[in-house]
């Protein structure tokens, strides 16, 4: 029974871990450019809603996922405009995006509540493997290519990048919108693959956990794979262990573990921590 439990846990962890991985990879690139986007939950739920709506109307779940990516990118564009161009507080802007996304998806999605989806994407699928490949590719780009160097430098010292004649604003826009696309796809995965249906608020806090994964992965795309797997396993176990432990205590587990993991990894991370300019709007020419 134990080997069977371990095997199913791994498979299920891959399934739940897929959206967590995609969303946290997107957040890693956004934050590497110096922009925190707390709106992941909102971008994911918009992606989940639109993927379902498109897959239900056209019968094509892949098209649904693509549209989810686009809506995630558009939502991120709002955050980029407010926090980069208007230089508003990034935390508040991200929270506003989370609220707006949850509100929009809740209102527009009511017509789709409770409908089953006929054409779905398998749970552990191309997206899972694509996610791992994406993590590897993103790691390579970040550490071994010139665009990656520019991205990292923009998050560490935007003034230096600016002095080299590179447009800080453009780099940050690209990174934030890219992050939004990944978050949108992550949400879409939930509604056309993981639980092929639409329910209001179905992301259930996953967006916040994805942000936490970005933090304790030390903004490293490869480490995010392990983070996503770990939380995927926690999600599955919180469902599986219901025979022995009260369900409420189990459903609490991923959230309690997030705090625990952040606290435990906090000490090792000092010094090689967050991008230096994270959360600080950049004004060219200002000191």
């Amino acid at each position: 029974m134990i080997p069977e439990l371990i095997l199913t846990t791994i498979v299920r962890a891959l399934a739940v871990g897929t959206p967590l991985l995609w969303a946290s990879l997107g957040e890693i690139y956004a934050e590497r450019s110096g922009v925190v986007n707390l709106g992941v939950e909102g971008m994911m739920i918009l992606g989940a809603f639109l993927a379902f709506a498109v897959a239900h109307t056209t019968g094509n779940p892949i098209l649904g996922l693509a549209m989810a990516g686009i809506v995630g990118g558009l939502a991120a564009l709002i955050h980029a405009f407010v926090s980069i161009t208007l230089r508003a507080n990034q935390y508040v802007s991200g929270l506003a995006l989370a609220m707006l996304g949850l509100g929009l998806a809740g209102v527009l999605g009511r017509a789709y509540e409770g409908i089953p989806l006929l054409n779905t994407v398998p749970e552990v699928s191309g997206l899972t493997f694509l996610g791992v490949l994406l993590a590897a590719a993103m790691w390579f780009v970040l550490h071994h290519t010139r665009p990656g160097l520019i991205l990292r430098s923009t998050g560490e010292s935007p003034a230096t990048v600016d002095a080299l004649g590179i447009d800080v604003t453009r780099v940050r826009y690209v990174a934030v919108v890219f992050g939004g696309i990944l978050a949108g796809v992550a949400g879409g995965f939930l509604s056309v693959a993981y639980r092929p249906s639409w329910t209001e608020g179905m992301t259930g806090g996953m967006g916040w956990i994805a942000i936490a994964i970005a933090i304790f992965a030390g903004w490293d795309p490869l480490k995010a794979v392990w983070g996503a797997l770990f939380f995927g396993a926690l999600y599955y176990l919180s469902f599986r262990l219901q025979t022995w432990v009260t369900p409420e205590a189990l459903r609490m587990m991923p959230f309690a573990f997030t705090i625990l993991v952040l606290a435990v990894t906090a000490r090792n991370r000092r010094g090689q921590g967050a991008p230096e300019a994270l959360g600080i709007p950049y004004t060219s020419g200002a000191r």
Partner: protein, 358 residues
């Protein structure tokens, strides 16, 4: 200096009160216009939606007091958050702190044998302490280990939600509730008095108003309040001046979380008279409190007005649910848009507008 047509923008160090008010009002108006566009996409005519909302809230003598009753938890959460934000501590956990207060109040009301006259004061005290305790862990983690407080306070919200779910399904499930998941009703001694004909529990409202006044004095006129503001404006300078960041942040956060706990007491003792599903105890007051605090721009008395505005939006959500069959989530659209336009317009405050004579 910039010029757009006949308007000339001159940089200023501090905006005047009138200009701040005008920019804020413009942002709120823009948010309502934008929401109108969304209603139109939903298939509801914006003019009809706003007419319905206006007639159903301000224009209806029976529902107008509901605005005030929604304002009570919003004011308590918002005015507390304002103090935390002044110290640059991003407490997103007022929702969980409110629930902790609600649990403590219900616990005292249900299980603590007290003389009836002491029950309500004990509930307020317990709720305040429980809310503060719920906020303590993220505070210490941030100060000791630099754990991001946005994430940790948010996670504490989810933990609080599941803790309440567990209590009402498990150990605290009521004898009289049959299949439903809530506790027994609190004894009459634990019920807060209402203003007749309304659901306004005036005692909690009074606590909120006194807190807003008291915190204005605290922030503006006391040493500790000054230390909180100094820490928020320039942490490095504050440290050189000998301000203890640990103590100061803990004080700011305990005020914030304690106030949210009081909001939970009000909802349990004033409205529901029992502990029930978390989404019924709080309709998202803890998150909306962020807007109350931000819109008040750091001024506790102003938060009374901004809480009323958010109270109006929450009441409108109820009206729209009933008359336009829109989900209550519609309030999140308003909240998100207002927040976006509010912070997006903030740069206008750094300028003074002058009209040039042609």
């Amino acid at each position: 200096m910039r010029r757009i047509g006949r308007f000339q923008f001159e940089p200023v160090s501090a905006p005047t009160g009138g200009w701040t008010l005008a920019v804020s009002a413009g942002a709120i108006l823009a948010a309502f216009l934008c929401a109108g566009g969304i209603f139109w996409a939903f298939g509801v005519s914006p003019s009809r939606a706003y007419a319905t909302v206006f007639l159903g809230t301000l224009g209806d003598a029976r529902t107008a007091p509901e605005i005030v009753r929604q304002t009570i938890p919003l004011l308590l959460c918002g005015v507390g958050l304002l103090v935390a934000f002044r110290a640059q501590f991003w407490n997103i956990g007022a929702e969980g702190q409110l629930l902790a207060g609600a649990v403590a109040a219900a616990g005292v009301g249900l299980f603590l044998p007290l003389p009836p006259s002491l029950t309500i004061p004990a509930m307020f005290l317990a709720g305040c302490v429980a809310g503060a305790a719920w906020g303590l862990l993220p505070t210490l983690l941030r100060l000791r280990l630099e754990v991001n407080e946005v994430i940790s306070t948010l996670m504490m919200n989810y933990i609080a939600i599941f803790a309440v779910e567990w209590l009402i399904h498990g150990p605290w499930k009521g004898q009289e509730s049959r299949g439903f998941a809530y506790t027994d009703s609190l004894p009459q001694a634990a019920w807060l008095g209402l203003i007749p004909g309304t659901r306004i529990h005036w005692a909690t409202l009074a606590v909120g108003l006194i807190l807003a006044g008291g915190l204005a004095f605290f922030l503006g006129r006391t040493i500790l309040g000054f230390q909180i503001r100094a820490l928020g404006q320039n942490p490095a300078a504050a440290r050189y001046a000998g301000i203890d960041p640990l103590r100061t942040t803990v004080v700011a956060m305990m005020i914030s979380a304690g106030a949210a706990g009081l909001a939970g007491v009000g909802e349990v003792a004033g409205i529901h008279h029992k502990l029930l599903a978390p989404e019924q105890i709080s309709l998202g007051y803890g998150y909306a409190g962020i807007i109350v605090a931000w819109l008040a721009r750091g001024s506790p008395p102003a938060s009374i007005l901004t809480a009323l505005l958010l109270g109006l939006i929450f009441t409108s959500g109820d009206v729209m649910k009933v008359t336009l069959q829109m989900p209550f989530r519609v309030t999140d659209i308003f909240n998100g848009l207002i927040l976006f336009f509010l912070i997006g317009s903030e740069r206008l405050l750094q300028y003074r507008v002058r009209v040039r004579k042609p």
